[in-house]
């Protein structure tokens, strides 16, 4: 008996010791004096190699270190392109095909052992040419190749020729991509493309140093060396990564446009960024509530505890200095019909389905009013979005059941009779499973048999890009702030495996799309986009869903947060008021 008790006691003693060791962490921690921005993302970055950065989380991290030729103005809205490594906007030839870009002088790559004596050298035009060629190198299989595919004169030929060689020849001259001198790059396009400048603001086109690529070779994706305001050591795939202010970053100042209080301050404004990657909502939110993160997207499950029914922040959080920022995302959710199927070739069937889909109820149930009904593919904030337009096939004032039934009967399916069971493919996340049941309940009022099929994202993506679905859930986020990026979802040549997953094919739309997308930004183009969006929306290629609103909570010590769809602009502009931080943290 004694032995049993002592044995058991030893076990519990060990457990107690383990618990006590936890206090080691409490006393061992020190707050630094360095101004540090603490951020959190939902996932780890996959890579720091710009040519493969196609996910939001890799973009967020890489944009702390790398820069592109262009970026978006941090303060001004609608989004405005400005030079980042380029000195101002490019000069454009009469035919809109030739871009001449002048680089800023004195821009240095970050100090790194890949350079002689570890000292970063000045950025040159040849770096731009090299970086863009990497996108075209078939051996690298860049995810970002689509941005330049068939766009730059001679680049596809270079890609083709070098695919046969053992080692790609980066010194081979390409007619459409030339460094005229150390600070001037000339790009000649196959045809005029007003969206091309946006491509030069995408992370795929961040500028890299040849020395870094050749030094780190296959490990370059973990060893970023850029020209940006922050730098870091190698990324070890852990859930935390630290960035320090780049001591050789050029002189750059907070924009003076808009009269922001921080106008004229030298960038970056913080000394250090500590980025953590947490896939689950609870720890993200709890850490924010504890003051460990400076701002966070409010998770769905915690939303009601933070935001009142009036949409404002609750008193208990306001007293702790927490502020809310709401912004409508440049995105759209939709339920595409598969236009390869006979039943959906009939517009009356599509209209009937759209008329009974209660999008407002969807927003109320699943988005906690953090969304607005989409009237056309174009979200608010883009030229071509018409604030006053109401799509007659969106249930803005409630569903139109009788009209829908009439249309379905005219199509030869009275009360849904004769229609086969319709599979609705959606994601297997809990929210989307529930949305699937909601869609089923909505469409079944027509007498249609809906079978909800949930899929892991990889399978859903497979079905969408191979057109192996009947009705599905889909969403699109802007690659750049141009309505063309949303209208291209209906361009017939973008059919599967491209982004026109619905396989929508309308020659009239195609013609107008090509006409409008080749126009430079102007009120005329905006008007054309708007007309095109309205007319195609009334063809009901999809059941339109919502444009989402993101609600960000930030602590009172975080300064200068202006939420953007292009979060890459954040890092150099955000600031921490350390005095306020000390005061507010004591209340948490």
């Amino acid at each position: 008996m004694k032995k049993i008790c002592s044995f058991s006691f030893s076990a519990f003693f060990l457990l107690g010791l383990l618990s006590l060791l936890s206090f080691y962490g409490c006393f061992g921690k020190k707050e630094g004096d360095v101004k540090t921005l603490n951020t959190v993302s939902q996932a780890k970055p996959k890579t720091f190699d710009p040519i493969d950065i196609d996910d939001r989380y890799s973009k967020l991290e890489a944009s702390k270190i790398y820069e592109g030729l262009y970026t978006y103005h941090y303060v001004e809205r609608p989004y405005k392109i400005i030079g980042q490594l380029a000195e101002g906007l490019p000069s454009l030839s009469e035919d809109g095909q030739t871009y001449k870009i002048t680089l800023k002088k004195g821009v240095l790559f970050q100090d790194n052992k890949c350079f002689p004596q570890g000292k970063g050298r000045e950025l040159k035009a040849s770096d731009v040419v090299y970086s863009f060629k990497r996108l075209a190198d078939s051996k690298l299989n860049a995810r970002g190749w689509w941005v330049f595919d068939n766009k730059i004169v001679g680049l596809n030929q270079w890609r083709e020729e070098n695919s046969k060689k053992e080692k790609s020849d980066y010194d081979q001259v390409i007619e459409g991509l030339v460094a005229l001198d150390d600070y001037t790059v000339q790009i000649k396009l196959v045809k005029a493309s007003p969206q091309f400048i946006y491509i030069l603001a995408m992370p795929f086109t961040y500028i890299v140093a040849r020395e870094a690529v050749e030094f780190y070779r296959k490990d370059f994706l973990n060893n970023p060396v850029g020209t940006g305001p922050f730098m870091s050591g190698p990324y070890d795939q852990s859930n935390k990564h630290t960035y320090l202010k780049n001591p050789t970053f050029r002189e750059e100042f907070f924009p003076s446009e808009g009269g922001h209080p921080a106008a004229g301050k030298k960038l970056p404004l913080v000394e250090k960024i500590v980025a953590q990657f947490l896939p689950e909502e609870q720890p993200r939110w709890l850490n924010f509530a504890k003051g460990n993160f400076d701002f966070v997207l409010i998770p769905q499950d915690s939303f009601d505890s933070v935001v009142g029914p009036d949409g404002n922040i609750k008193k208990e959080f306001a007293e702790k200095g927490v502020a809310l920022d709401k912004s409508i995302r440049l995105d759209v959710s939709l339920l595409p019909f598969n236009h390869n199927l006979e039943i959906f070739k009939d517009i009356r069937v599509r209209k009937a389905f759209a008329l009974v889909f209660d999008v407002k109820k969807l927003i109320d149930l699943f988005y906690k009013n953090k969304a607005i009904p989409a009237q056309t593919p174009i979200p608010p904030g883009l030229s071509g979005h018409d604030l006053s337009y109401r799509n007659p096939y969106v249930a803005n004032e409630g569903i139109k059941l009788e009209e829908a039934k009439k249309l379905l009967a005219e199509a030869g399916y009275p009360e849904g009779k004769g229609l086969p069971p319709i599979t609705f493919d959606t994601s297997s996340s809990s929210m989307h499973r529930q949305i699937g049941e909601f869609v089923k309940s909505q469409l079944e009022v027509l007498g249609v048999n809906i079978v909800v099929q949930t899929n892991p994202w990889s399978e859903l993506s497979d079905k969408l890009h191979k057109a192996k679905f009947m009705l599905a859930s889909y969403a699109w986020g802007a690659d750049y702030p141009d309505a063309e990026n949303f209208l291209q979802l209906l361009y017939s040549k973008n059919g599967p495996p491209g982004p026109n997953v619905a396989s929508y094919n309308d020659p009239v739309f195609d013609q107008k799309y090509l006409e409008s997308s080749s126009m430079q930004d102007s009120p005329e183009r905006g008007k054309l986009y708007s007309e095109l969006a309205r007319s195609v929306a009334e063809q009901v290629p999809w059941i339109l869903g919502v444009h989402r609103t993101e609600v960000t909570a930030s602590h009172g010590w975080l300064q200068n947060l202006i939420t953007s769809d292009f979060e890459s602009t954040y890092w150099r502009h955000l600031d921490i008021d350390q005095e306020v931080q000390k005061k507010l943290k004591s209340k948490l």
């Binding site: 032995k3 457990l15 383990l18 994706l221 795939q237 953590q276 497979d462 191979k466």
Partner: protein, 313 residues
Amino acid sequence: MSIYQYIIRRLLYSIPIILGVCLIIFVLFNLVSPDPVLLMLGKHVTASQIADLRRELGLDRPWFLQYWDVVKSSFTFEFGRSWSRKQEIWQMIKQGAPVSLSLTLPGFILSAIISIAISIMVAFFRGTWIDKFAVFISVAMVSISSLAYILFFQWYLAFKLGIFEISGYEHGFFECIPYVILPIIIYIILSVGPDVRFYRTVLLDEIYQDYVRTARAKGLSETYVLFKHVLKNAMIPIITNLVISLPFLILGALLLESFFGIPGLGGITLEAVNTSDFPVLKAMAVLSSMAYIVFSIITDVLYTVFDPRVRLK
């Protein structure tokens, strides 16, 4: 047969097992898994890009050549790079495995000690309120979802009371301790319930044996009988249970790693499943199978230590 002969023979038997594992994962991947190429190429995909990437990954070759690659890499341990992250798989495993082990190994050891201790106590007090109470608590612990434990303890102990870190991880022996304490405690709680129930059953099975009755009849104390006779014989199934669990420690505790932001192998495996990252899945399946084989050999060898009647054949 000597131990060495036995071990060599068992290792040779593992070859067809590994071939079978390769075949299963190859078939599952090609028949069931969605096309990884589409996932890797993102939302702007062209037919020519798909063809280029399929060529690069060797997916356009005949199936038997692809299968041969799978077999070759399984025996040479050259798993190449992750398709979704382009990271060296060995590097991912080398980075993730120690992190997972820093959580699962202490949890495993402590939960084993605690479970065995409680089971012995319960076996000693069998039939009494102590026994019934312990069974009740064990069943209750098993009935509560692991997610419920994680959510509650993280919220209450870490956030509300501030005793532990909410999440995170620092590499280094001492640095990681504050971050793994709470996950380890939850790991122990999750393991103790089912383990106590199992070990209690095993001990009671032994306690009711004739030789135990004989020992008591000879005047030996209950404690002596329990520790000298019963425990030793009960160790065989207990060891089996413990040793067979060892290979899975490296895979980590998926939910714990996910909620506590611990960058272990569990998260890597889950991501590989979600992104149809075949090289990573192949590596994890092959390595887990090999670890399972090795540890089952160890289990068999340990049998002979605990039970001299057992002969290896």
